[in-house]
């Protein structure tokens, strides 16, 4: 099961090379996203969407809030 992390841990992991992935709809990503984040909306997380991500690096996903 994926580990829930806070903002400080996000920054630590990103500094070490982790990928940031926003899973909100693309329109919301276009308006605001964390620096360096990629957009892979939830409904596009499948074999094709996964192929765009680097499996050798840790991966941090986020949405709007805790929901």
């Amino acid at each position: 099961m994926a580990t829930a992390i806070d903002r400080d841990r996000v920054q630590q992991l990103v500094d070490k090379g982790a990928q940031l992935v926003e899973v909100l709809p693309a329109k919301e990503y276009e308006e605001d996203h964390l620096p360096g984040a990629r957009s892979v909306p939830l409904r596009q997380i499948n074999q094709e969407g996964a192929a765009t991500l680097d499996r050798s690096r840790p991966l941090i996903v986020y949405c709007w809030d805790m929901a």
Partner: protein, 171 residues
Amino acid sequence: MAPRAAARLETLGFKDVFHYKGGKLDWMASGQLTEGENSKRPRAADVARNDVATCRLDDRLGDVRERAHATGLDAAVVVDAQRVVLGLLRGAELAKDPDLTIDRAMRPGPSTFRPYVPIKEMADYMDKHNLESSPITTSDGKLVGLLLHSDARQQAEGCPDCARPMIQTVL
């Protein structure tokens, strides 16, 4: 959504998956920068007057009115020692008996808004709720500045609506 996304990625074979539990809202509320279209447009904090007069609960209204008018604004914000917003004095409150203490004269518990709200959304909200001014605060309630309706409306000119309303999540 993020926990479900993380779980799905694990089923696709990803090993080191984390989900940021606070999400984008937590990121922006902490004052961190973002990228994207909104980052190129004014937000509430960019337009708010940070030179607004502030006062304490035991100040005398007449004194505060003079300080407020010296800034060119018919408003002042009531704060505590940590600049946490306690109340608001708009024109109607400033016009009360000058010998009142601020505690007796102020409008307590005003709605506050976060610095990252796009100015177009702020202007529309202030139109709808007939707000002449609103305090902009950090997520821990500390004053950033006072946003005037006239400033918000002027800066919102030409700005598009946003996909996700931000005000409803922070009131």
